[in-house]
Amino acid sequence: MRSVAVIGIGKTPFGAFPGRDLRSLAVEAGEKCLANGHIAPSQVDAFFLGNFAGPSFAGQNHLAPYVSTALGIQGVPATRVEAACASSGSAFFHAYTGVASGVYDIVLVVGAEKMTSQPTPRVTEILAGAGDCAGEIKAGSTFASLFAMIARRHMYEFGTTREHLSAVAVKNHANGALNPDAQMRKVITMQQAMAGKPIADPLNLYDCSLISDGAAAVLLAPAERAGEFTDKPVRVLGIAQASDFVALDQKPDITTFPAVRRASGKAYQMAGVGPADIQLAELHDCFTIAEIIAIEDLGFAPRGEGGPFTLEGHTARTGDKPINTSGGLKSKGHPVGATGVAQICDLVLQMRCEAGERQVPRHSLALAQNLGGSGATCVVTILGTV
């Protein structure tokens, strides 16, 4: 296996863009990325698109060549990857394996989603397609309600509180307020976060990530060639994807995500590092409880301690384990299929010292965790500049 590096990144802002369609967002991110990596479309050996529900949101199928040809990339394999909210994390993983194995040299990965063209109840319905439609969804579950049931059980078993959940939202909004590409650049108080409109008890509006349009892109190359394209390459030191049950009621214990434990265990081993070594992370905070459980499953805090760990400020931008300095899915936005690649872009910005006001001082070893559905897919990536 060859060592692989990220040689370029590109992103659109995240938000609600009534005049933009899926392809124009994907093309903007792809073009910015190619320019950033000093790569011409003709140099790209393969194209991967992470997209969750383009056919449902936009009525368009066959999306990978639809986007790649619009970018001027002709003739090469163009593949769409769907893994719910981990679609582009999975696309990134498969692009990585293509470069590491020597099948490809230069691979472009774009993640994109256009969600705001549909009314919220329809968006809720499309998102529910990532659950078990013959069981939990048929019974009336929404994604918020699945994570609400996870939160309820976590509170019962470990004493996690309403305040712990809100501490995640307050922290991520404080970070997103400093991110010019974030959808909701708004600082919120603990009082506001605790008193949001109820969505699925115990979760309120401020526990839920946003409905967003947006795209993000990265370029991968063999590390030995990275110097040809950039003077700030970031290496993929460890990466793994893991899977688990789609239906929540099939999991023996819903207060932990086995796919996160499995993927992170393999990624740590591959990188030769442990959770204590990680200097910053982008975690999948689709709901506040998801960030708390990710903190535990990744080994940043013991089981049941993710809430107190957050409330104590460890995960703040100024803390010893900064998490979601981009604002996370909560404040930056969550165009589902774009999220996994956007996490990589945001970490690379930090690792290149290009994160502006939200720049953290320690940034040579970083981790991204991208979760699909209620934990059926997880991709963990460890990046390093050392």
Partner: protein
């Protein structure tokens, strides 16, 4: 044969639903650990009067369109 009984493993009350369930809000869903083994996601009847919590005992009162509905055992 008696109606299946079980214990609430986790629950939520839903206030924001898809179009198909919009008329039902707020409604309660739960994962029930069945006494006979296994878990199932179902609806709880009478959300206002009879909200269930973790560890409450429930009995299945009907199956509507494949979805089990449970009621709290007093």
């Amino acid at each position: 044969m008696n109606d299946p009984t079980g214990t609430i493993y986790t629950e939520t009350v839903i206030y924001s639903a898809t179009e198909a369930f919009a008329a039902d809000v707020p409604y309660q869903t739960a994962i029930v650990s069945l006494d006979a083994g296994g878990r199932v996601t179902g609806r709880i009847v009478n959300v206002h009067g009879d909200r269930v919590r973790i560890d409450d005992r429930v009995v299945r009162v009907e199956i509507r369109d494949g979805v089990p509905f449970f009621r709290k055992i007093a």
